[in-house]
């Protein structure tokens, strides 16, 4: 990489602005008995994106409350049908209760790859920077294949293969994320990830939890450092500058803020976290972002993204 440049990234949002948005969202959600939720989610995402500047330009979330409301209704209907099935069989079932619950969990697990796929497709299509859309080009059938194969291996290895499962999914997904005509790639693998977690787990145990922050730092680093962005023979690399001490300060203070403000300080905790993340990733390379061209298509079905919310998956990476 000759002519390597360091790119600038910063989060400019304030706790107060986010706090106001969340309070207004909460009021509107309560008054509408929760139906405002999709709009609330859109407002929050729009704000968080707009306050994150990369090379002085903001990320833009262009998803709307209406789209997400449609997805919300579909996701709700699907889950209502599932629950109805469970209740009916509990009512008439008697002894097959365990079987029904097992089936219920199996269906939810079976839906995970579909949810990841749909959620990425929607989120990426609705994210843009400098007017250039992100996109997710993964195949649903491929993701399903990887997920089921690895899930099977995870079960027969009593969970050990779970690290490979997580990394194979993450790699597949991130390898298919684009911004315009540039492509992300991810280089993490199950073996390294497994060792990292093994070390993290035992050291956390031996240090009575203190190592947790260093474990967190390692996980963050493993995500960031293995990420690349390529366009032709130009590329961008990401390096974590986060430290265990940094994470300790961030997380402990966040916890104190949330506790002592009785939860009202949540917005400030989020702000601190985003600041920390934005300030602790060094992004450099020889890619000229001027070369990016709009090439990803739009996609407006938010059902899977809303499903992820119902099951409290958050946004999965």
């Amino acid at each position: 990489m000759e002519n390597r440049t360091h790119y600038r990234m910063a989060y400019h949002g304030t706790g107060m602005d986010l706090f106001r948005i969340e309070i207004v969202n909460l009021i509107l959600c309560m008054v509408t008995l929760g139906f405002y939720y999709p709009w609330a989610k859109a407002k929050t995402l729009q704000y968080l994106y707009s306050q994150t500047l990369f090379e002085e330009q903001p990320f833009v979330f262009s998803g709307t409350g209406q789209e997400m409301f449609k997805g919300f209704v579909k996701a709700f209907a699907l889950i209502a049908i599932l629950w109805a099935g469970v209740f009916i069989s509990l009512w008439y079932g008697g002894e097959i209760i365990q079987l029904t619950l097992l089936l219920f969990y199996l269906i939810i697990i079976a839906m995970i790859p579909l949810i990841i796929h749909g959620s990425y497709k929607y989120r990426m299509a609705k994210s843009s920077w400098r007017g250039i859309r992100f996109g997710y080009t993964g195949e649903r059938s491929e993701l399903i294949k990887i997920f089921y194969r690895d899930l099977f291996l995870t079960i027969i290895t009593f969970g050990i293969y779970g690290s490979w499962l997580a990394m194979n999914i993450r790699r597949y997904v991130l390898d298919h994320v684009r911004i315009g005509n540039a492509t992300f790639t991810y280089h993490g693998n199950g073996g390294d990830f497994f060792l990292l977690n093994l070390k993290g787990y035992f050291l956390t145990l031996f240090t009575l939890g203190i190592y947790m922050f260093w474990w967190q730092k390692d996980l963050f680093e493993y995500f960031v450092n293995n990420l690349r962005l390529r366009q032709g023979d130009h590329k961008v690399a990401f390096r974590s500058k986060a430290t265990g001490g940094g994470f300790a300060g961030l997380l402990i203070v966040n916890l104190l803020i949330v506790i002592f403000t009785l939860g009202f300080g949540y917005a400030w905790a989020v702000t601190r976290t985003l600041n920390y993340v934005a300030n602790n990733i060094d992004i450099y390379g020889d890619l000229s972002f001027d070369e990016l061209v709009q090439s990803q298509s739009d996609y407006s079905d938010a059902t899977a993204d809303d499903m992820a919310d119902f099951f409290d998956f958050g946004f999965i990476i």
């Binding site: 843009s128 250039i132 949330v258």
Partner: protein
């Protein structure tokens, strides 16, 4: 980045920006390239535009495709553009965002209080009106059955106490049935629809049949006045509210609200207890039993006040305050001159109860 503040246009086709001139007027934004003089002008409607501010920049999104302007503070067109594209004010969200944060917090707290009263009082009260006595008995019975699966019944005591109760006037609408449970804990409770459960522990604290009449009168009042059904309904709708708050507000917020709710709940249940004491004593009088038995019951329980865990434990749901004892005392004093002639069978049954092994 550069010396002079810039106005950049991103066309949503290429990531490379163009520096432009902007003019506003007639609800439109006119853009022209800074470096070509061919008069090529792009026109956008301000009604479709939205604005966001980050740091010292203004970003004006011109259309659904994602074309936008990035304006640095200090640029000659900064002010024009800022006034041309107003932040969202039409929607509820926009209107509320214009309010100051203390106002917002007050509104939120107000909504919480309203939601609390709807869930804890209004909905249970409405349900109370809808639920018939038969349905109430059904609900109470299913509760009773599930509670009894883990308890050991004292059959002899149960028989005697039921006979004792059958000689009393306790309820107009409900058939009162009593179950005595072999358990040293000092506890008694009433279920919706007519079931009263007594622990042998509470019987041990009594040395007088009037005290048992007082206890039955108190518990029967909980049933007659549907207190049990009310608190059950209120607990159910509160748990719904709690899960709603939990999903919307996170753990800490819900803990705070729960404690605030518990305080209110406590003062409310005290009100119900006072009513049960008073109407319980009225029932005693109706049965020609000296209401001083209520005071004796209370002092006896206060003495037995060891630490009782569990939500149904008598002392925790029935705090024996001095105030309650004083009220009972005053009530009894008012009937000092009256003569009482309780059913003599009651004493016989009481002796049987005490003599059983």
């Amino acid at each position: 980045m550069s010396e002079h503040p810039r106005l950049l246009f991103f066309d949503a086709n290429n990531a490379s920006p163009r520096e432009v001139y902007a003019e506003t007027g007639n609800g439109k934004i006119y853009l022209s390239n800074i470096d070509d003089q061919d008069g090529h002008v792009l026109i956008f409607e301000t009604v479709n535009a939205t604005v966001s501010a980050t740091g010292n920049r203004l970003f004006i999104f011109l259309n659904k495709n994602g074309a936008y302007l990035s304006v640095e503070a200090g640029h000659p067109s900064y002010h024009d553009l800022k006034t041309a594209v107003q932040p969202e004010r039409k929607s509820w969200f926009g209107k509320m965002m214009a309010l100051k944060w203390p106002v917002l917090v007050t509104v939120l707290v107000g909504i919480f209080i309203i939601a609390y009263f709807i869930m804890a009082r209004v909905i249970p009260a409405a349900a109370l009106k809808i639920i018939t006595t038969e349905q109430e008995a059904e609900i109470g019975n299913s509760f009773y059955r599930s509670l009894m699966t883990t308890e050991e019944k004292d059959t002899a005591a149960t028989r005697i106490v039921n006979e004792f109760a059958s000689r009393l006037y306790l309820s107009e609408k409900y058939r009162i049935r009593i179950t005595v449970i072999k358990e040293t804990e000092v506890n008694a409770y009433a279920l919706p629809g007519g079931n009263i459960v007594l622990y042998t522990g509470i019987l041990e604290t009594m040395d007088d049949p009037d005290m048992l009449v007082a206890l039955l009168g108190h518990e029967a009042t909980h049933i007659n006045e549907r207190h049990s059904l009310q608190s059950m309904l209120s607990a159910m709708s509160m748990s719904l509210l709690r899960s709603m708050i939990l999903s919307g507000f996170g753990d800490v917020g819900s803990i705070v609200l729960e404690h605030a709710g518990t305080l209110e709940q406590l003062s409310y249940s005290r009100k119900l207890e006072r009513e049960a004491d008073r109407k319980g004593m009225e029932l005693m009088i109706r049965n020609e039993v000296n209401p001083v038995g209520m005071k004796k019951l209370m002092t006896g329980l206060q003495e037995a006040n060891d630490n009782l865990p569990g939500i149904f434990s008598f002392i925790s749901t029935h705090p024996m305050s001095d105030e309650r004892i004083k009220t009972a005392d005053a009530f009894a004093a008012a009937h000092k001159t009256a003569t009482f002639a309780p059913d003599p069978e009651l004493r016989k049954l009481w002796q049987q109860l005490k003599a059983r092994k």
